[in-house]
Amino acid sequence: MKILIVEDDENILSLLKRGFQEEEYIIDSADDGEDAEYLATSNSYDVIILDWMLPKKSGIEILTSIRQKNIKTPVIMLTARTEIDDKIKGLDYGADDYMAKPFSFKELNARVKALYRRSLSLVSNKIDIKDIIINIDAKSVTKDNIELELSQKEYELLLFLAKNKNKLVSNSMIEEQLWNNEEYINSNVIQVTIYNLRKKLGKEFIKSSRGLGYKIEV
């Protein structure tokens, strides 16, 4: 799962990044409104955590702008404001959830997961494809009820392909989904990950069309 964290307080941003990294999410972050808007509109995220008061552009402005561009990424607003009116305003402008500071990290994490599940239109936290079951909360994958050992990138790639089943997913889409803005990517790395996944899931599980990308067919 790839998330964007927008928070101008460096201490809060730092702890959120550390916390979500330990959850093995792929994280982009911004500490002002303009950067946040740029990232949110040029990349695709599974969830955006958005602070209300930001330099240059407020959270509400960013929210308005991305919803106008028809970006439907779930957004969870983070703010020190606790007035009911503010909550309503945030939700009215297209936020999907709202957390008031000081919040519990565990609760925030649980809500981020819930939003993610909802965005996948999943009722449960499991995705079944053929003989493979992906458990999103536990981040585990089983084949014929035997748990498979997957690396973080392998898991994320499988999840991404599963989410887009029957659709062709290009290298650049994978790159954008699996790595954050600052990471350097070796051109081989996607190929290697696919190779490893096929070894664990079965050769025919992921189809490839040369030069165009990959897909899971059901």
Binding site: D8, D9, E10, N11, I12, L15, L16, R18, G19, E22, D31, D32, G33, M53, L54, P55, K56, S58, A80, R81, T82, E83, K101, P102, F103, S104, F105, K106
Partner: protein
């Protein structure tokens, strides 16, 4: 009896006073009318007496005279030695003796329900005696008129009084209507809803002034409450940020077993954030600690120049880091009576701001001198403040950047502490600033 409503009070007073005035008027008018009638009767009777006298002088016998047509309608009695020796008509004279003994020639007496006049014509030669006479019905018309006036007054006046009270009641309602509106609005106003105002009446009178004053008061309250709300929201924001960090760090740290370095790092962060919270609370308490009434007791003789120099020394590290030079253009030796802690707050916050908002390698110029008053002037070449924000910089927690950009540290309490300290010393503070060119702050003691 106590009347609660203003309207009832006014009506009772108004009705009472009007009734008394009517009564006084009636009595006076009636007396006057009565006098007038008496005089009229007296005149008429006198004219008759003159005629009788003239006739008698011609030597006519009194019995013949009585047959005269002009005297025919008279009720007459002739008295000799206090006894009636002749009587014509129904003449019935009460208190006859009194009339005769009295020197007056005209009396008024009541006959039945009417007033009547009696004329006494005294004859001395050759017949010693008196002729008493009055004219029957002479008074009838007049008496009727008197009764009519009496009746009409007693009927019309209560009607007039009722009408007046009715009109007064309507007038009072008209006057009280805006007051009722004020009451209604005042009842509807609460701290959570100060947006209401009272509708202005069309008139330009005392009620309008009252409504104006009331609306202005609501407006002032509205602003005050808004400021307090803003302040509360700011305080909670400032306190919630470090609390969020503390809570989050603890949760994440406890999530799994860590190296001891990690625990140390977390505890250091918590320590720093707790210190921030303490700073905010200390500053808030400082803002409310001194008032104009208790500040005088803390005043002592302070050397401003040495306090300024000590303060500047405290900023040596920050100055070196940014390569900023402080020029003391004028530094006079000045002693002043004041609170050392607060004056130090003024100096340190203004210097701190000048450093924070200056770019690297710029100069800060400071002047401290005495002419008519004591001037402390600090000029920086920093980012400056926009015009519309100049008036707000001293509000509590106000920071030029709404997001409270954390790249420049501070809570936004500094300048409100400065403002508070300046006011407690009866001094003034002025800001002049040009965006991107710098700011001049003048404190005048």
């Amino acid at each position: 009896m106590k009347f609660k409503s203003l309207k009832t009070q006014v009506l009772v007073w108004f009705g009472g006073v009007t009734t008394i005035l009517f009564l006084i008027f009636n009595i006076t008018f009636y007396k006057f009318l009565e006098e007038n009638i008496k005089l009229t009767i007296q005149n008429k009777l006198y004219n008759k007496s003159v005629y009788i006298n003239d006739q008698l002088k011609t030597g006519i016998h009194i019995k013949d005279l009585l047959k005269d047509k002009k005297v025919e309608s008279f009720e007459i009695a002739i008295v000799k030695d206090d006894k009636i020796i002749f009587k014509k008509g129904h003449a019935d004279f009460p208190k006859l003796a009194t009339f005769i003994k009295d020197k007056k020639t005209f009396f008024v007496f009541t006959q039945g329900d009417r007033q009547n006049g009696l004329f006494i014509f005294k004859i001395y030669e050759p017949f010693k005696g008196a002729i008493l006479f009055y004219e029957r019905n002479i008074d009838k018309e007049i008496n009727n008129k008197l009764r009519e006036v009496k009746n009409s007054l007693f009927v019309s006046e209560p009607i007039l009084l009722l009408f007046l009270i009715f009109a007064a009641s309507k007038l009072i309602d008209k006057i009280l209507k805006p007051i009722k509106n004020i009451t209604k609005t005042a009842n509807a106003i609460s701290v959570t809803d100060l947006s209401r105002t009272i509708k202005q009446p069309n008139s330009d009178d005392e009620i309008k002034q009252l409504v104006d004053a009331f609306n202005k008061m609501i407006n002032r309250l509205h602003n005050e409450v808004e400021q307090i709300e803003q302040f509360n929201s700011d305080v909670s924001h400032e306190l919630k940020t470090p609390l969020t960090v503390i809570k989050g760090e603890i949760e994440i740290t406890l999530n799994k077993k860590r190296e001891s370095d990690y625990y140390e790092r977390t505890l250091n962060i918590i320590d720093k954030e707790a210190y921030q919270i303490q700073q905010i609370i200390d500053n808030l308490l400082m803002l409310t600690k001194y008032t104009k009434s208790n500040i005088q007791q803390t005043f002592e003789l302070i050397s401003l120049d040495s306090l300024l120099l000590t303060t500047i020394e405290n900023y040596n590290i920050q100055l070196k880091e940014k390569g900023i030079k402080i020029n003391l253009n004028i530094l006079e030796s000045i002693d002043i009576k004041g609170n050392q802690q607060l004056i130090s707050i003024i100096f340190s916050n203004l210097i701190d701001n000048a450093i924070k908002y200056s770019k690297n390698n710029k100069d800060i110029n400071i002047q401290l001198y005495k002419s008519d008053k004591i001037y402390f002037i600090i000029r920086d070449e920093g980012i400056g403040i926009e015009k519309e924000q100049l008036s707000k910089v001293m509000n509590r927690f106000y920071r030029v950047d709404e997001s409270r950009n954390k790249k420049i540290k501070g809570f936004g309490l500094g300048l409100s502490l400065v403002k508070n300290s300046v006011e407690l010393h009866n001094a003034t503070i002025k800001f002049e600033s040009i965006k991107d060119e710098g700011t001049i702050v003048k404190v005048i003691f």
